[in-house]
């Protein structure tokens, strides 16, 4: 399991084995069934989680409809980052969609490791920078791309999620009506190369 984490980390910074073990010592394994809530609005996010196995979603309610902010699978992070970083109560729910195993680090432990080792602090900075850029990219995509383009871009980048995530969640994540999503998916089946060629 730690190998997956090591691999993930090496995408951001080079850590020697001693650095990595400082981090690994603080990591705990947490397992959840499907459809378990990891976090509710009003709670402070205590953990940043790396998914070893499974799938989770982060969302909130606008009126009675769910708005999805994140869908994460193996080798990705899930957590209410904003609450984790600020210590303020979260606005969001996090729920597993499949049986899920996480490698989690508590925010207090991570702070300790940052103080001990500036290369790990760099890792933290790089990951948060990545979060910021992802958000920025997403906002730009929402403004610049139309519904169809957003759909195609998503399907191209996340073919797996299309299979594993209920369609209404995907539609919500892509900020489109479920009917629109169905219609676009239909279009894709007829022309399987449509997504691949872009």
């Amino acid at each position: 399991m730690l190998d997956l984490l090591r691999q993930f980390v090496s995408g951001y910074v080079t850590l020697n084995p001693e650095d990595f073990s400082l981090l690994a010592e603080k990591v705990i394994v947490r397992s959840f069934d499907k459809r378990e809530l990891l976090l509710r609005p009003g709670e402070v996010e205590q953990y940043m989680n790396f998914i070893i196995r499974g799938l989770a979603r982060m969302y909130f309610y606008k009126g009675r409809s769910e708005v999805h902010l994140n869908l994460a699978k193996e080798k990705e992070l899930i957590g209410a980052s904003s609450s984790f970083l600020s210590g303020a109560p979260s606005n969001y729910y996090i729920e597993t969609l499949e049986p899920t195993t996480l490698l989690s680090i508590h925010r207090d432990d991570l702070e300790k490791v940052y103080r001990q080792n500036s290369r790990i602090e760099r890792l933290g900075r790089e990951i948060i920078t990545h979060f910021v850029l992802e958000k920025e990219e997403w906002e730009h995509a929402c403004m610049r791309l139309d519904t169809r383009e957003r759909f195609l871009q998503f399907v191209e980048r996340n073919p797996e999620l299309v299979q594993r995530v209920p369609q209404k969640y995907l539609a919500s994540y892509l900020n489109m009506k479920p009917e629109t999503f169905s219609r676009l998916k239909h279009l894709l089946k007829k022309r399987p190369s449509a997504a691949g060629n872009r």
Partner: protein
């Protein structure tokens, strides 16, 4: 401009910068002084495009004086995504970090002075000073939290609430920024924005 002259001309602005950074990490005079050689002072007239689409963003800027906006040109429209005044960070971040051509434009609204740090200088700073690494992490964390809040509030709040929240927290911006930019930033139609403005006229509560 050499940093000695800059230190005289921009004494107040530099003090504000020192104060601003110290909110994240306490820096004594020497430590703050050690950062100065990495900082460039850049001055622009009003309505100047500091960075245009298609060019790679070289700088992360903190506004020393003035006002600037960031927008995305989309189908003959300009969508304002940021309005930044003194003490705020503004740059085309995707372009800056990934070293790719910018899809955003940054334009000054008033004559504006930036304290700017180039991509390379920033990496040098991080390599040289663990404290800079710490400062960088806290700054970017704060930026993320603000971005997340803004995104959430844009989605959850009504037009009227978005308007009132903004003018209450940024009273001076209404005077300094053309109305259409604020309307675009808040994702409110210009007509609606005009109508909402009566809510903040003197005498009305």
């Amino acid at each position: 401009m050499t940093s000695d002259i800059a230190a005289t001309v921009y004494k107040d602005a530099l003090e504000r910068l020192h104060h601003y950074l110290s909110r994240y990490v306490p820096l004594n005079k020497q430590e703050f002084g050690a950062l100065l050689p990495y900082i460039e002072i850049r001055e622009f007239d009003k309505k100047v495009r500091v960075i245009d689409t298609g060019t790679v963003e070289r700088y992360l800027n903190v506004i020393a004086m003035g006002l600037a906006r960031k927008y995305l040109p989309v189908r003959n429209k300009e969508i304002t995504v940021q309005l930044a005044s003194e003490g705020h960070i503004i740059h085309s971040e995707l372009s800056f970090h990934y070293r790719i051509p910018s899809s955003a434009v940054i334009e000054t609204i008033e004559p504006t002075t930036f304290f700017s740090i180039s991509y390379d200088s920033l990496q040098q700073l991080y390599d040289q000073y663990p404290k800079a690494e710490h400062l960088g992490r806290l700054l970017i964390s704060d930026l993320f939290v603000k971005k997340d809040n803004r995104y959430y509030h844009q989605l959850i709040k009504s037009t009227r609430e978005r308007f009132l929240d903004y003018v209450r927290t940024h009273p001076q911006m209404l005077q300094r920024v053309p109305q259409k930019y604020i309307a675009s930033f808040l994702n409110i139609k210009p007509e609606t924005f005009s109508r909402l403005k009566h809510l903040v006229r003197p005498g009305k509560k």
